[in-house]
């Protein structure tokens, strides 16, 4: 098992390198001169050129990328053009807000969608099933920022029961978490429903009933656990895009997280910050994928035997 995890961690490295290379490459195309941006229009050409040299901007692309990776491994992701602070510091300050938001959303998705999906499957074609399918369909057809705006309109401006913007209390995270969860709720409800429908047709479910197990016992103990693999996969994907996908929701609710920082950085061509934040998102997504893969093996003993066989 340890060997498997080790192998999976090693496999993450080329993916992360690949992503950072692509991002680095794309952002290399950014127009404008960062040195000129920093020093302003009044600076002389000589001083701009000196700064370019100092920042390594005149090196060939591959050298720049190599230096970047080398420094990044030491924890140095460069300095923000705007504030002059190390990029890592900027990220650190903003991470807690983004993390709270993503965790809140994934908790909502998990504890709302899985029960709804199960009930939908068990009571297929019932009123509740229809309602949840329509709800899921609406949520997939709605941009998350508009969902958020509509909730601000209703809960913050109309009913005045929840704050619209800011981060001071847990209440501030309620609306943004729900807005961020929207699409995930839809995806996970659908996946839970179809996966459960598949499982409850299986012979072993009938066996469990023939043993005299109660209906809830049959559904939870024998059904859900077998239906869990695809559900966990989509939960992982959703959590990944939540961790990195704060850009839109953080902008709507004015949350000073990594996402809104990235949008600012893009608007101001603050390239080191952009590269770092997108690379961090990619790493977060890879880690979640790894966790999902490890969970698989714990849930499904057949996979464990496969790994053992492959390992020996």
């Amino acid at each position: 098992m340890g060997k498997y995890i080790g192998k999976r961690i090693l496999m993450m490295i080329p993916i992360i390198l690949g992503i950072s290379f692509i991002i680095f490459g794309i952002l290399e195309l950014t127009p404008g001169d960062p040195a000129r941006n920093i020093l302003g229009d009044s600076a002389t050409n000589e001083s701009v050129e000196a700064l370019r040299e100092e920042m390594g901007l005149n090196d060939p692309f591959l050298v720049k990328y190599f230096n970047y990776v080398k420094n990044a491994l030491r924890g140095d992701f460069g300095t923000s053009y705007k504030s002059g602070l190390p990029v890592l510091e900027e990220l650190k300050g903003r991470l807690p807000h983004s993390l709270k938001l993503a965790l809140g959303s994934i908790l909502i998705v998990t504890f709302l969608s899985i029960p709804v999906g199960i009930i939908s499957a068990v009571k297929q074609y019932s009123f509740l099933d229809t309602v949840s399918l329509i709800g899921a369909f609406l949520l997939t057809s709605m941009p998350s920022f508009w969902f958020g705006i509509m909730m601000i309109l209703f809960f913050a401006l109309q009913l005045k029961i929840l704050p619209a913007t800011g981060v001071t209390t847990w209440k501030h995270f309620v609306l943004p978490s729900i807005a961020m969860a929207g699409l995930g709720i839809a995806v996970v409800v659908r996946m839970t429903r179809s996966s459960m429908l598949e499982v409850i047709r299986q012979d072993y479910i009938r066996t469990a009933r023939a043993k005299g197990a109660s209906e809830s016992g049959v559904i939870i103990k024998h059904g859900l656990k077998n239906a869990l693999l695809p559900i966990i996969t989509v939960l992982g994907v959703e959590f990944g895009s939540m961790l990195g996908g704060g850009m839109i929701i953080e902008s709507v609710f004015a949350i000073p997280g990594i996402g809104s920082m990235t949008v600012d950085a893009i608007r101001t061509s603050n390239t080191p910050l952009v590269i770092a934040s997108i690379t961090f998102s990619a790493i977060a997504i890879s880690i979640i994928n790894l966790i999902v893969d490890i969970l698989y093996v714990y849930i499904d003993p057949r996979l464990k035997s496969n790994i053992k066989r492959a390992g020996s």
Partner: protein, 300 residues
């Protein structure tokens, strides 16, 4: 000679009859779903509105030009969707916005599906090193949610219509190439391909004449759903100020502008949102309907 000629004509006709009947049966299955038909009508309605927009309103006068004396007027008979903070007619901006959203969605998916089909079929058909290289690249890109890739590209190129189009097109390529590759792998070794190859048919012809037609179903479904996704992504990026620049009447940027006035003028954030949701819903309904019609086995 006569006989030979007659023979080819006969098989030729049979082929078209067969293809027609296949399309007809897909259409029959599609028609059965009321939701799918509703989606189709909704989309046709939106397209018609987008096409006749210049007849309903004047682009320069109503949608672009600032008219401060009539700013922030609630919906009335004169301005059925009201006016925005520059006194522009919201209805005019919505219908011209439909042109932008639908055409950017269509164009970007058109580009990405062609690139995706190209990459996917080359990888799937030739296999080996090319396949490995292309697919590892796609895997890396797929590790990021497509909106990320789009944002990165926009970050490099800067905002604007064309840059947005490029960004969205590129970011959807990996999904298409995956789908095409896997359907090609499942078709590649079937006997009719072997037969074509043994007749000396060239690779390009085999791919175009035999493989693509058989993989077209999933591509069309993915394309329909991708247009829906593209409309959401275009509006999201424009909302962030990274997409289409004002004063162009894009739904997402209308929302971003209207957000400042949402406390007193709710219609400014409700109406553009409904426009987005309606077009996305129409395309999602069509996509789901097509999926069921193309592969009845998938339906539970």
């Amino acid at each position: 000679m006569m006989n030979v000629y007659e023979g080819t004509k006969e098989t030729g006709r049979r082929k078209t009859v067969k293809r027609k009947s296949q399309l007809a049966s897909i259409w029959t299955r599609y028609k059965k779903s009321q939701l799918a038909m509703a989606g189709l009508f909704l989309l046709i309605l939106l397209i018609v509105i987008a096409i006749v927009a210049p007849l309903l309103a004047n682009y320069e006068q109503d949608a672009i030009k600032q008219n401060m004396p009539i700013r922030l007027q609630s919906p009335s008979r004169e301005h059925i969707f009201g006016t925005d903070h520059y006194g522009r007619d919201v209805f005019a901006r919505i219908i011209f916005g439909a042109r932008i959203s639908l055409s950017v969605g269509l164009a970007s998916v058109f580009i990405s599906s062609i690139l995706g089909v190209l990459i996917g079929s080359i990888a799937g058909y030739y296999g080996g090193k090319i396949d490995n290289l292309l697919m590892r690249l796609m895997d890396v890109l797929l590790a990021l949610p497509s909106i990320f890739l789009a944002i990165t590209i926009v970050a490099a190129l800067g905002p604007g219509l064309i840059n947005l189009l490029i960004a969205i097109s590129i970011s959807y390529v990996p999904r298409f190439s995956r789908i095409v590759r896997s359907s090609i792998l499942s078709i590649k070794n079937q006997e009719f391909i072997e037969a074509a190859r043994s007749c000396g048919t060239r690779d390009r012809r085999i791919i175009l004449k035999h493989i693509i037609p058989n993989a077209i179903g999933p591509i069309i479904v993915e394309a329909t759903l991708s247009i829906a996704r593209a409309i959401i992504h275009v509006s999201s990026l424009s909302f962030l100020g990274l997409g289409i620049k004002p004063p162009m009447p894009e739904w997402g940027s209308m929302l971003a502008e209207g957000k400042s006035y949402m406390g007193s003028h709710q219609y400014l954030v409700i109406i553009p949102g409904i426009a987005i949701v309606m077009s996305v819903m129409a395309l999602n309904l069509i996509g789901d309907g097509l999926r069921d019609a193309l592969d009845p086995r998938l339906k539970n």
